[in-house]
Subunit: 216 residues, 2 copies
Amino acid sequence: MTKSDKIPDATITRLSIYYRQLELLEFDGYRMVSSEKLAWLCQGNPAQVRKDLGYFGEFGIRGVGYDVIDLQAQIKKILAINRDWNMGIVGVGNLGLALLQHHNFSARGFKCVAAFDNDPDKIGADLPSGLKVRDIRELDAAIDELDIEIGVITTPASAAQAVANLLLKANVNAILNFSPTRISVPECCLVQNIDFTVMLDILCHKLDHQTTLQHL
Amino acid sequence: MTKSDKIPDATITRLSIYYRQLELLEFDGYRMVSSEKLAWLCQGNPAQVRKDLGYFGEFGIRGVGYDVIDLQAQIKKILAINRDWNMGIVGVGNLGLALLQHHNFSARGFKCVAAFDNDPDKIGADLPSGLKVRDIRELDAAIDELDIEIGVITTPASAAQAVANLLLKANVNAILNFSPTRISVPECCLVQNIDFTVMLDILCHKLDHQTTLQHL
């Protein structure tokens, strides 16, 4: 890997998006793609595509472009998604249930192998995916037994930190946090927050700003 | 508003996060907060807090900090969340249903006022929120009637672009896109993509990179 110690998060995000477009290109029968076309498909710009990929080596052929299949393999390797990852979901509410049935996860190698809750009415219940809801008190043992590397928090905000602490104690160092609060974790733990209302705040700010500009 | 034409997205995101911590501070009885404490609570740094707020004016008192209530009001105004926004959800699958019941939306002034689907088995069904699922063919009229400004797409990837086109045609210029694909929209339309698997890709890349570094 070249210059890979300081890869911006935005580059990693874009690689993930390039990858999705490359899949569609392959599906449509394309063998090669130029940085111009890839950029256009991803609503980016060609120089950015070349720069993003340039962090990791030389993948394209000047004047020809990138091999659609080869570049997918390279990006999968860079993102470390060239293998499956086991996830455990904590909090079997509406959102947890929706995620457990989200086909896109398993299609991309993210396997929901366990679901946990602390509600006696939910524990033991059969899930559409074939799993049974486990008692949160089994978290530690289940993580070890099922080789869970990613914890997904879909509890209310009030329970999120306690769940994060349990995951850390069980040596899960990657957390996807859907609860509408920030959690404190040591530096060794990686957290991706997905707070829908933060996204809405950004949208509203831009919408309002745009409207204001139109009326100037 | 000062210097507000070139506010980075990251600043807007952080403002939204500051706002959530200010709410908690108010709840805990705090009247003032320093940039140091606010930064610590948000896992940021104090210079960044001051810079972010500095885009919009002078809110703090040197050596004392920010007024917890006043700064909330200011941020609400900046983000344009000092009023309610009406949203329509298109796609009443598992995720759509989960979002319709997501208390955090309405608590923050994002009102789900309509839900649409094209599945005859779903159209007319009563939702837990008290709404009925509407026929997607009613989208145009309902958006006008209910003053919907934000469209939320929770359809499969294959339907997302068609839904986006319908929303645009009905003059909805802000879209929160949960479908696992990018949608093409004209520049006047704002899109926030929330693709869970992109977030997982980022997490996996970092986790793998961290593990590699540990073994060097």
